[in-house]
């Protein structure tokens, strides 16, 4: 099939499916967190509360969209759109199955990391354009956190790239199908790189324990303080989307992508993505947030050196394997 047509059809398909899944992740989060807290969660709207996201969306849509007087109007309105844009952009190169991939780039991993790095911009723009000190503080923290944690993320993502010898995500998945999932083999670098990737993704997506930029109990709503209605909704949608996509990327890089014991295919990829996504929520509803300076020292004193060691270990393994 013509590569442009293939790309167009699958990007629309993937975007739609992902956005729908993100909307239902609201339901999933509320049920999951409720069960963790000995509660029930939404039960009224729809069977088992399944129509809750629709209720939430309608509620947000009908709210008044207030732009503060002295806020930078253009940037204020742009920020939520940009977050959504960059999050969806990452989904373009993730291989959900051998056929379902919007754009099988040779430099897929770099593309993902670049788009993830761009996510710092809209958060900072929102903090600045709101003309609100709480938002400004949140934006500053977000920039510090986002930029710092890109390094461990890059280093962790370099391990599968080194082991597979290619930056294309489909090639990485195929290499895992031949040689075993990276989380299990090689033992050591694979597992630790996965943990590093997971922690760095949490920080990039501003999830607890790293949700300082939107620390609700300290900064009211941090970066999103001045946003109302659907713009606020877009921020949270983008955050869930980023988390979901990071989970998908993690599944592709470390858990073997669409590989599975019986019938390899799309369903395995979806299952693994949902597994990692659930893990993120589990961590969120259990832990408290760490302070900004502790977050920075965690990154620079522990994660970056660990990442460097892991990349070297992966390189040594590859060299050793190539020799034999």
């Amino acid at each position: 099939m013509n590569i442009w047509l293939h790309g167009a059809i699958y990007s629309v398909l993937i975007a739609n499916v992902l956005l729908t899944m993100t909307a239902w992740s609201i339901w999933f989060e509320r049920k999951f967190s409720a069960r963790m807290q000995s509660r029930v969660g939404p039960t009224i709207v729809g069977p088992m509360g399944l129509l809750q996201p629709i209720a939430d969306a309608i509620k947000l849509l009908q709210k008044e969209s207030i732009v503060p007087d002295k806020a930078d109007r253009a940037l204020f309105n742009l920020a939520p759109l940009l977050t959504l844009l960059f999050s969806l952009g990452i989904a373009a190169v993730v291989p959900f199955s051998p056929e379902v991939i919007a754009a099988d780039l040779d430099v897929g991993v770099i593309f993902i990391l670049a788009m993830g790095g761009m996510m710092v911009f809209p958060v900072w723009i929102a903090g600045w354009a709101s003309n609100n000190k709480y938002a400004l503080l949140g934006g500053m923290r977000a920039v510090a956190q986002g930029i710092s944690y890109e390094i461990p993320l890059v280093l962790a993502a370099l391990v599968p790239v080194t082991l597979a010898g290619s930056m294309s995500l489909s090639d990485i998945v195929r290499h895992q199908i031949e040689h075993g999932w990276y989380i299990f083999w090689p033992p050591g670098p694979g597992l630790f790189a996965f943990v590093l990737f997971f922690v760095a993704s949490l920080a990039e997506a501003n999830r607890i324990p790293f949700d300082i930029p939107e620390a609700e109990s300290e900064l009211v709503a941090g970066v999103t303080t001045e946003y109302t209605g659907m713009k606020f909704g877009l921020f949270y949608l983008a955050e869930y989307l980023h988390t979901l996509i990071s989970a998908a990327v993690g599944a592709a890089l470390f858990l073997g992508g669409w590989d599975g014991p019986f019938a390899p295919g799309l369903h395995w990829m979806v299952l693994k993505t949902l597994l990692l996504f659930g893990l993120v929520f589990w961590v969120r509803w259990t832990l408290i947030r760490i302070r900004i300076d502790q977050l920075m020292s965690l990154c620079w004193t522990w994660l970056v050196p660990a990442g460097l060691v892991l990349v070297m270990a992966a390189a040594l393994w590859k060299w050793g394997m190539a020799g034999s």
Binding site: S33, M36, I208, S217, R289
Partner: protein
């Protein structure tokens, strides 16, 4: 007397901000009256140099309802439901504090059964209040959408058991109006002791889990250890009592040192820590919860028989008239020394006080903010503020 060796940096609350470094661009941030973490409406004006606070100016008074003026128009017997709402998280303590003062002035003696009941209610209320504190502390530290809320839900689940016990006695889950001049209004039902023992067992087990959380979970420890140190000298000078003073190393507890109710018949073991930081205050409260449950377990089986109220009215509605005298009575509340200063001989031919003043421990705790906050970051401010356990109804009255 061994005091804390913690090195607290006590700032100058009257620092002239214009004399601060000329090239520092100070930002004024209002931890404003509307804020998820100020435990009510309370405003702190923070002067920030980056993320570090240079000067903090608190502005209380947003919840000032004029309770003391109102009480000059109400009679002694009508006041209890209003005073319930001062420290709205421990209403039993509020009621007991004012009624103790009225009984002393009026000269009515409280029967022994009522004293036991008051002690049991006070200790159960202390546990309930500290559970609220723990839950909201988790929310402050961890965010309303995150691990803090999990802790909050679990604490409130335990607190519901205590509130159910109180509902069996008084009919109200909260704000009971069960104390009166001369004793109690409601007696405990026959099977209540069994319920109390069951609740004590469940909560004691869960308190162990909470203590592990505060001492071993690295994130909790990092957020609370060494943060917001209040040393003994500052606390004594400011009049701060309760868990904050005990966490600073001062071994002072009114239940043991100036016993009231039935505390002279039990052995109160006071929890004292020396660090004076948020973690120390948290641990003191956890230990206090355990001690309260132990005291309740000891007393509930030995409640003496007898009347619960010593003062019999001669006409209805119940009228207590005190024509002269003034004095002060206090008790050890969950936040510190909760006292009442009454000048009798007011309106309604002595059925109202001339002047009533509530000595609220939370107001003294709030007055330490200008001394302790400078040097902390905004995150630490929230942790410190939460660990001081203020209740705005009591701060502002």
């Amino acid at each position: 007397m061994k005091f804390s060796t913690a090195t607290a940096t006590v700032a100058d609350p009257y620092l002239d901000i214009s004399t601060y470094e000329a090239d520092a661009d100070l930002m004024v941030l209002n931890l404003g009256p509307q804020h998820p973490s100020t435990h009510g409406v309370f405003r702190i004006k923070l002067y920030l140099d980056g993320e570090v606070i240079v000067k903090a100016v608190p502005y209380p008074g947003f919840l000032h309802r004029g309770v003391e003026k109102l009480c000059e128009k109400l009679t002694y017997t009508m006041m209890t439901p209003i005073i319930d709402k001062n420290d709205y998280l421990s209403p039993m303590m509020n009621e007991q504090a004012i009624n103790m003062a009225f009984e002393d002035l009026h000269g009515s003696a409280v029967p022994r059964r009522a004293k036991y009941l008051r002690t049991i209610f006070a200790e159960l209320q202390r546990v309930a209040s500290h559970l609220v504190w723990l839950g909201t502390f988790g929310v402050d530290l961890g965010g309303a959408l995150g691990g803090g809320t999990t802790l909050f839900m679990h604490c409130f689940r335990e607190r519901e058991m205590i509130l159910d016990l109180f509902e069996e006695v008084t009919g109200c889950r909260f704000h009971y109006n069960t104390h009166m001049v001369g004793g109690n209004r409601h007696d405990i039902p026959a099977k209540w002791a069994k319920g109390v023992h069951r609740v004590i067992g469940v909560i004691a087990e869960r308190i162990d889990e909470y203590e592990i959380l505060l001492t071993s979970n690295k994130m909790f420890v990092d957020r609370t250890k060494g943060v917001g140190v209040i040393d003994a000298e500052l606390a004594l000078s400011l009049g701060i009592t309760g868990p904050i003073l005990r966490a600073a190393g001062v071994d002072h507890d009114l239940r043991r040192d100036a016993p009231y109710h039935a505390y002279d018949e039990v052995d109160v073991r006071v929890a004292v820590e020396t660090a004076g930081d948020c973690q120390a205050r948290a641990i003191v409260r956890i230990l206090e919860m355990r001690e309260s449950l132990r005291i309740v377990g000891e007393l509930i089986d030995n409640v003496p028989e007898g009347p619960i109220n010593g003062y019999r009215p001669t006409k209805t509605p119940l009228q207590v008239k005190i024509t002269k005298g003034q004095g002060y009575a206090c008790l050890e509340g969950p936040r510190g020394e909760l006292g009442t200063y009454v000048i009798a001989g007011g309106d309604n031919r002595g059925a109202s006080p001339y002047r009533l003043k509530i000595r609220s421990p939370s107001l003294h705790a709030m007055s330490c903010l200008p001394y302790v906050l400078p040097g902390l970051t905004v995150s630490d401010t929230i942790a410190t503020f939460g660990s001081l356990d203020p209740v705005m109804g009591e701060v502002d009255r």
